[in-house]
C-alpha cells in the first residue's frame, strides 16, 4: 500500500489541495540556498540522478517511466543504477509510444502518484502533443479544480550535436505559449539538482528541459538537499554596461562573453532566468534600470520566442529606462541544420553574444 500523504522535506510544510490526494509538500523557502562554491564536483547527469533519487527515497509515489530508462540505465545514463536501487516497479521501461506513456503518466498523476516521464529527446514529445499540450496543462482548469496533474516531463532539449532538424528541437518557445505548465531550464549541475527537486514536489505539471550537450558538464553540487524556487533568476555576473538575459545552455556562453567583455572594460549583468514559466521579469527590469541596455540570448528560433516575450515585457515595463533598442540573439530562423559547421553557425555562440553586446553599448 502506498501512503498517499506527501512526505515533507525537513523544515517544509504540507499544503492541502482539493485535487491532490495527500496534498503536496512545500520546501522551506526561508532556508538560504547552499553555496555554489565547493569541491564536490559531479556531472550534470549525476545531479539530475541525485535529485530524482532523493525524492524517490522520500516519496514512494514517485516513479520514472520512459524509453530505455531501466535496463539500459537511460539512453543518456541519467538513470544509471536506479533500476538496482528502486526496482522495476518504479524505474519502468516503456514501449516506444510517447503519446501512450505521456497519457499514462498524466492519469497516474491525476490518481495520486508522482510520475517523472523521460522523453529521450524533447523532439519526440511532439508525437505526444495532445497529451502534453491539450490534456496535462488543462486538467485542473477543465475539471473545475477536481483533477490535479503533478507530473514532471523531462529530457534533452536543443540541438544535441548533428542530429538533424527533426531530432534537434528546442521546445521552449512552443511550450511556453501554453498556459498551465511550468518550464524549468537549468544551465548548470547545481541548478539541475535544485530545480528538479522543486519540479518533483511541485503540485502542477512541470516541463524540465535538459541538454544532451551539458549532461557531461562538471561542477560543484552540494550533497545536502536543496530546492531552488521557480521564478527567481540568478544573477551570475554584475555590471552596469548591459544586461544579458538567458536561460539553459546559452547562459554558459553569456558567462564566457561577460568574462571576455570585462577584459575590454565592459561589465555586464548576467541573469540566468532558471525558469521560463514563471518568468522573473522583475529582476530583468531592476537590472535594466541600472544598465539601460539589454541583450536576450535564447537558443530557440526568433519568431514568437521566449526572447520575444522578454523583449516585449521590457518594452511594456521598462521602455523609459532604455538607451538602446533591445537586442535578441536567437538561432537563425531555419530548421536545425544537420551539417556540423552549419549547426554551429546556426546556434547562439559566445562570439555572437559579444558582438551583440558591443553593438548595444557601442
Amino acid at each position: 500500500m502506498l501512503t498517499m500523504t506527501s512526505p515533507v522535506p525537513p523544515g517544509g510544510q504540507l499544503v492541502d489541495h482539493p485535487a491532490l490526494p495527500g496534498g503536496y509538500a512545500e520546501p522551506d523557502w526561508s532556508k538560504p540556498l547552499p553555496s555554489r562554491e565547493g569541491d564536490r564536483v559531479i556531472q550534470f547527469r549525476e545531479a539530475l540522478r541525485e535529485a530524482i533519487s532523493e525524492e524517490m527515497r522520500r516519496d514512494e509515489r514517485v516513479f520514472l517511466l520512459g524509453e530505455e530508462v531501466a535496463e539500459y540505465n537511460g539512453a543518456y545514463k541519467v538513470s544509471q543504477g536506479m533500476l538496482d536501487e528502486f526496482g522495476p516497479k518504479r524505474i519502468i521501461d516503456s514501449p516506444i509510444s510517447e503519446n501512450g506513456f505521456a497519457g499514462l503518466g498524466a492519469a497516474a498523476a491525476m490518481y495520486g502518484l508522482r510520475p517523472i516521464i523521460e522523453f529521450m529527446s524533447w523532439s519526440f514529445s511532439l508525437v505526444a502533443a495532445d497529451q502534453i499540450m491539450n490534456n496535462v496543462p488543462k486538467m485542473l482548469y477543465m475539471s473545475g479544480g477536481q483533477w490535479g496533474c503533478p507530473i514532471v516531463f523531462r529530457g534533452n532539449d536543443g540541438a544535441g550535436g548533428q542530429l538533424g532538424s527533426t531530432h534537434s528541437w528546442t521546445v521552449e518557445g512552443l511550450y511556453a505559449n501554453v498556459p498551465g505548465v511550468k518550464i524549468a531550464i537549468p544551465s548548470c549541475p547545481y541548478d539541475a539538482k535544485g530545480l528538479l527537486k522543486t519540479a518533483i514536489l511541485d503540485p502542477d505539471p512541470v516541463f524540465f528541459l535538459e541538454s544532451e550537450r551539458m549532461l557531461g558538464d562538471k561542477a560543484h553540487v552540494p550533497e545536502e538537499e536543496y530546492y531552488i524556487p521557480f521564478g527567481q533568476a540568478a544573477r551570475l555576473r554584475e555590471g552596469d554596461a548591459c544586461t544579458l538575459v538567458s536561460f539553459g545552455r546559452p547562459v554558459n556562453f553569456c558567462l564566457e562573453a561577460a568574462d571576455a567583455l570585462a577584459g575590454e572594460g565592459i561589465d555586464v549583468d548576467v541573469l540566468d532566468m532558471r525558469t521560463i514559466r514563471p518568468l522573473d521579469m522583475n529582476s530583468v527590469i531592476e537590472s535594466i534600470k541600472r544598465t539601460n541596455r539589454v541583450v536576450v540570448v535564447d537558443q530557440c528560433w526568433p519568431f514568437g520566442s521566449v526572447a520575444s516575450e522578454v523583449v516585449t515585457q521590457i518594452i511594456e515595463r521598462g521602455f523609459d529606462w532604455l538607451d538602446h533598442p533591445p537586442v535578441r540573439v536567437n538561432t537563425e530562423d531555419v530548421p536545425t541544420p544537420y551539417a556540423k559547421q552549419l549547426e554551429a553557425a546556426y546556434l547562439p555562440s559566445t562570439e555572437r553574444i559579444i558582438a551583440a553586446v558591443r553593438g548595444a553599448v557601442g
Partner: protein, 374 residues
C-alpha cells in the same frame, strides 16, 4: 441462445530456405530463379561490406551515428526485387539500405546523410523513395497516404513501408494500418522484427505472441515469415504486392530477423544481449545460408566469392570517395530549401547572417559594427 464464434484467425509462418541452405522446392515454385538468387546475394554482400566500412568511418571520426543493417539484409533485398523499381514507392526506416540501392538511390547518398549532410536525403528524380524518417513510426502514415493518393490518381502503384518491431507501439502505426484498411490503399506494411528496440526486447515491447496478429484488428491479410530467407521474403512480398496492385488493398508481413550489430554506433548491445542468443542468430545469417544454397546448386564457388569481395571493396571505396569529396555546405545554404521563394525577411537574414532577429534592423542594432570588430 448459444454463444457463437464470430471471428477466428491463425497466423502462418513461411520458411522456404532453411538455415542449412536447404530449399523447399514445392514452396519455392514461381519464386526466385538462379540468376535472381545470385543477384540478391551480391547485393546483400555489397551492403554488408558497406556497413563494415561505414562502421569504421564512424569509429575514425569521419561519420556521425550510423545504424548497421547487418543480419537483416535479406528483408530489404528480396522485398525490393518484388517491387517495381521507379514505379512503386519505398517508404523506409533506416535498416533497408539494400532496398534503397536496388531501387536506384546512389550508394553515397546514405553515407552522405549519416555524415550529417541534408543532401543525402535529396533523392534524385525518378527514384521513388521518401526521405529517411527519424521520429519512429511517423512515416507509416505517409506510406498509407501515398498509396491512397496513387489509388485516387488511378495509378497501379504499390507502396512498401518498412519499420521495426518497436515502431508498432506508436499510435501512428495503428492509424496508418486502420486508414490503409478502410481506404483499401495499395500498401505493404513490412515489419522487420529484429527482436530488439535498442535494449528493449520484443516481449517487453508487446504482449502479443506475434506481431503479425496485429493486422487482424484491421482486417488485413497477414503472415509471419523467416526474414533471413530470401525466398520467403520474395514470395510473401510478391503476394502482397500483386494483391495490392489488383485492388486487393493492404497487407502485413512480420519478418522474423535479427540485428547482428549494435543498434547504432552509439550503442553497445553486449550490455543487454545474451552472447548465446547472438551466436545462435549468427548461424542463421542470410548470407551464409544463401551461399550454401548457391554452392549446393553449383551457382557459386570460392573464386566467385573472392571476385565479389574485391568488387564490393572497390565499389564501396569509390562510394566513400564520392561522399567525402562533396563540397561542404556553407551557412548561407540554410536558406536554400525553406520555401519555394525566400520571403523578404529571410532574404535579409541570409544576406546579413548572424543578425538572428527577424525584424531587427542590423544597422540600427549596431550588430554589423559589433560583428566587424569580432
Amino acid at each position: 441462445m448459444p454463444k457463437k464464434v464470430v471471428y477466428k484467425a491463425q497466423i502462418e509462418h513461411l520458411q522456404i530456405l532453411d538455415e542449412e541452405g536447404k530449399l523447399d522446392t514445392k514452396l519455392a515454385k514461381d519464386t526466385l530463379d538462379d540468376e535472381q538468387v545470385v543477384h540478391l546475394y551480391e547485393q546483400m554482400s555489397i551492403t554488408r561490406h558497406y556497413d563494415e566500412v561505414a562502421f569504421k568511418l564512424q569509429r575514425s571520426g569521419r561519420m556521425g551515428t550510423y545504424p548497421q543493417n547487418k543480419g537483416q539484409e535479406a528483408n530489404a533485398a528480396a522485398s525490393a526485387l518484388a517491387l517495381r523499381k521507379g514505379w512503386d514507392w519505398l517508404v523506409p526506416c533506416y535498416r533497408e539500405n539494400t532496398a534503397l540501392f536496388m531501387h536506384g538511390l546512389p550508394m553515397h547518398y546514405v553515407l552522405l546523410h549519416w555524415m550529417g549532410d541534408e543532401r543525402g536525403n535529396q533523392i534524385p528524380e525518378g527514384v521513388n523513395i521518401t526521405p529517411l524518417s527519424i521520429p519512429i513510426g511517423t512515416h507509416m502514415l505517409h506510406a498509407t497516404g501515398i498509396a491512397w493518393a496513387a489509388k485516387l490518381r488511378a495509378e497501379d502503384r504499390v507502396v512498401a513501408t518498412y519499420f521495426g518491431d518497436g515502431a508498432t507501439s506508436e499510435g501512428d502505426f495503428h492509424g496508418a494500418m486502420n486508414f490503409a484498411s478502410v481506404m483499401q490503399a495499395p500498401v505493404l506494411f513490412y515489419c522487420q522484427n529484429n527482436q530488439w528496440a535498442i535494449s528493449v526486447p520484443r516481449e517487453i515491447q508487446m504482449n502479443s505472441e506475434t506481431v503479425a496478429q496485429k493486422a487482424f484488428a484491421y482486417g488485413m491479410p497477414t503472415i509471419q515469415i523467416d526474414g533471413n530467407d530470401i525466398f520467403a521474403v520474395y514470395k510473401a512480398t510478391k503476394d502482397a504486392v500483386d494483391r495490392a496492385r489488383d485492388g486487393g488493398g493492404p497487407s502485413f508481413i512480420e519478418a522474423v530477423t535479427y540485428r547482428l550489430a549494435d543498434h547504432t554506433t552509439a550503442d553497445d548491445a553486449k550490455r543487454y544481449r545474451d552472447p548465446e542468443e547472438v551466436e545462435a542468430w549468427r548461424a542463421k545469417d542470410p548470407l551464409i545460408r544463401t551461399r550454401k544454397y548457391m554452392e549446393s546448386k553449383g551457382l557459386w564457388d570460392d573464386t566467385k566469392q573472392t571476385e565479389l569481395q574485391e568488387r564490393a571493396e572497390k565499389i564501396v571505396a569509390e562510394v566513400v570517395r564520392t561522399a567525402e569529396g562533396i563540397e561542404k555546405p556553407t551557412p548561407a545554404d540554410f536558406f536554400n530549401h525553406m520555401f519555394a521563394e525566400l520571403p523578404h525577411e529571410l532574404e535579409r537574414q541570409r544576406d546579413t547572417m548572424h543578425t538572428s532577429s527577424l525584424c531587427q534592423n542590423p544597422e540600427q542594432a549596431g550588430l554589423r559594427a559589433g560583428l566587424e570588430r569580432v
